[in-house]
């Protein structure tokens, strides 16, 4: 009853192909942005912003990156952590060599380095598919992990092999380093993520998105309608890695403030993959859902433990987290392979016809 589209006629194709063609969606997104930009910084606690919202946004971006590659183009990748790391370390080196340049610019530029790495490690994709390709991406992950430890130049020869973020400002306001407030960092992250999501959405709805999905669904047929497989796949690797790289740079510079190679390990790759699977392969919105659920899960478990007063160590909570993740993955693969995004769609469908059942 509330979500009816009836009466909203589109009179030209441009309107029909808009990002939010339904008025309720337009209102919805406006509200979300208003809350995100205004209500949150004013009303939410620093803890909530810094420990929940900012990381979820960052991981959502990484999940979008992986979703472009795996969900839209069908190339399963286990190297996400490595590409995030490339972005992070690239940003660190850029910040070291170009201290005067605006940090936001550097964050975006570090994505280019990740994109380059993505292309290099995506080269095998011409000849190999499916889980053979996944194993190749695993190779890239292990190699990059090794690089992050064994190439001291990357972390400026720091004894502890970790990188520490230098303080930087934007328009006079501190945005990285110890002086930056959580709210400031959150707003920068929010803007970058929102803009990049919009760009991803543009790609998906246009020619490139269609070529990616064609390659995913039936690459033989795609070739026969004139799609060049190799450039399409490499572009997917490049764009996906770009997104992961920016996410990695933001992870270090705008959230944690420091990092070591463990932040970009195979475990990270799996976590992002789980976010994409549970959130929904082939759905940008699903990436957000997946990131929220997977990142929020340990927090929820800890809250549950505290609320129920269970005498468990945090290590135990960690283990239960692992088990729950595994169970969730299997559950979603069985019950709803298209993830939370599909559940959301089904929900909207029910909302369209509410209060009738169908």
């Amino acid at each position: 009853m509330f979500y009816r589209e009836a009466g909203q006629y589109k009179t030209n194709y441009r309107a029909d192909q808009a990002l939010f063609p339904i008025r309720q969606d337009q209102i919805g997104i406006f509200l979300i942005l208003a809350i995100a930009y205004v209500a949150v910084p004013l009303g939410a606690s620093d803890f909530f912003i810094d420990s929940v919202l900012t990381p979820i946004l960052i991981f959502s971006l990484a999940a979008i990156g992986l979703n472009l590659l795996t969900g839209y183009t069908g190339l399963l990748s286990l190297g996400t952590g490595g590409f995030m790391g490339v972005g992070a370390f690239a940003c660190y080196k850029l910040a070291t060599y170009f201290p005067g340049v605006n940090i936001v610019v550097l964050v975006i530029c570090s994505g280019l380095f990740s994109a380059a790495a993505g292309i290099v490690f995506g080269l095998p994709s011409l000849r190999i598919k499916g889980f053979y390709l996944a194993v190749a991406t695993l190779a890239s992950q292990f190699f990059l992990s090794w690089c992050f430890i064994r190439i001291p130049w990357l972390y400026n020869h720091n004894i502890s092999a970790s990188i520490e973020v230098p303080a930087r400002t934007l328009f006079g306001v501190a945005i990285t380093g110890p002086n930056a407030t959580p709210a400031t960092r959150y707003l920068i992250v929010l803007t970058i993520v929102a803009v990049m999501t919009l760009l991803a959405s543009n790609l998906i709805r246009g020619r490139i998105g269609r070529t990616w999905m064609a390659v995913r669904d039936m690459d033989i047929a795609a070739e026969l309608i004139g799609i060049k497989l190799y450039p399409t796949k490499l572009l997917a690797f490049a764009v996906s890695s770009f997104y992961c790289g920016v996410a990695g740079a933001m992870l270090v510079f705008l959230w944690l403030g420091n990092a070591e190679s463990e932040s970009f390990s195979i475990n990270q790759s799996f976590l992002i993959l789980f976010m994409v699977i549970i959130g929904g392969l082939g759905s940008l919105l699903g990436s957000y859902f997946g990131a929220a659920l997977i990142y929020g899960l340990p927090i929820l478990l800890r809250m549950a433990k505290d609320m129920l007063g269970l005498p468990m160590t945090s290590a135990t909570v960690e283990h239960i987290n692992f088990i729950t993740l595994g169970v969730l993955i299997i559950f979603f693969l069985i019950a709803e392979p298209n993830g939370l995004a599909r559940l959301w769609q089904i929900g909207k469908q029910k909302l369209r016809v509410w209060p009738f059942p169908y």
Binding site: V135, A139, I323, G326, I329, P337
Partner: protein, 318 residues
């Protein structure tokens, strides 16, 4: 110029001047190769028979070893603990079939592959929860496995071979031989191969998928247990083994995903290549190239011969 010398000349000079070290390195490589091959064997079993690429094979190795050691630590005598662990692996196979494989029958392989990620995380979490994460000692002596080493005098120096390694090689060969016979000659083996080809077709000729899957995952569990024992006897039982187990993937790529002899040969090649690479070329890169060297070898193979040395070529028809 110096770099070229270091890459192409020096290592071989080193090999020549200290041949006993070379033999030692080769032996070490052979041994780790055999162990990789055992893990790969578990993969091949499951892949051959259910078409599933079981990413959780590595963690099954750890889990089996942990169960064995854990039972012993609670006072269960060694061989009884062994029998009970075998029982646990059977129950695990039952659970996997009932809760993961059956609901996902007929789904594309990639979905099943991702389901094994979930399985991996469940086993890691439960393993750590039940047994704790600190390294444990394998009860090799109690299982009557040999210890100590033979020191052979040869080529101007000494080569040391651990008896447990020799035992591992023997046991591995026995397992491989019996599995190969099982697949080729028995009725169940044929049924396993049918299931790997097509679930639907196998169902339509009356093969009971559930029964087959339980058998196969149980067999893989036994292989995992044997691997866990062997590996645990050489170094301790810890979750680090799981990452090492991922090395089985390059082995499979080399050997072909569906070939048992391929798993062995691939394992040996990877093991030898890794050890030689680490020992003679490693210092050039700073250590630790063992982490990814195997994958590079595999990647090269993927580019030129994706089906591996012995695997089957998949021909796609429109």
């Amino acid at each position: 110029m110096h770099l070229l010398y270091q890459i192409f000349i020096d290592p071989f000079v080193q090999m020549g001047t200290a041949p006993d070290l070379l033999v030692q390195t080769l032996w070490e490589g052979l041994v780790s190769g055999v162990l990789y091959a055992l893990i790969a064997l578990g993969f091949v079993l499951i892949f051959k028979a259910s078409g599933v690429f079981n990413f959780a094979q590595g963690i099954m190795v750890v889990f089996a070893a942990l169960t064995l050691v854990g039972l012993y630590a609670h006072g269960v005598p060694a061989f009884l603990a062994l029998a009970l662990t075998i029982g646990v692996m059977f129950l695990l196979a039952l659970a996997i079939e009932r809760f993961v494989l059956r609901p996902l029958v007929n789904q594309p392989d990639i979905i099943l592959f991702m389901a094994t990620f979930g399985l991996t995380y469940i086993l890691i979490g439960s393993g750590e929860l039940i047994f704790g994460g600190d390294p444990k000692v394998m009860i090799a002596d109690q299982l009557l496995l040999p210890s100590g080493a033979y020191t052979v005098k040869m080529l101007g120096g000494f080569v040391q071979m651990q008896k447990i390694d020799i035992a591992a090689a023997v046991i591995a060969s026995l397992m491989v031989a019996s599995l190969a016979v099982f697949f080729q000659k028995t009725r169940i083996g044929r049924a396993l191969r049918a299931v790997a080809d097509s679930h639907r077709a196998a169902l339509s000729v009356g093969i009971s998928l559930e029964y087959i899957w339980v058998i196969v995952w149980f067999a893989a569990g036994i292989v995992a247990l044997a691997t866990g024992i062997m590996w645990g006897a050489r170094s301790n039982v810890s979750f680090a083994l799981e990452i090492i187990a991922l090395k089985a993937l390059p082995v499979l790529i080399l050997g072909g995903f569906t070939s048992i002899p391929g798993a062995i040969i691939g394992g040996v090649i990877i093991g030898l290549g890794e050890k030689l690479g680490e020992f003679y070329w490693g210092p050039l890169f700073g250590s630790g190239i063992e982490d990814w060297f195997a994958y590079v070898i595999a990647l090269v193979f993927l580019l030129f011969r994706p089906q591996g040395l012995f695997g089957e070529r998949i021909i796609e028809r429109i």
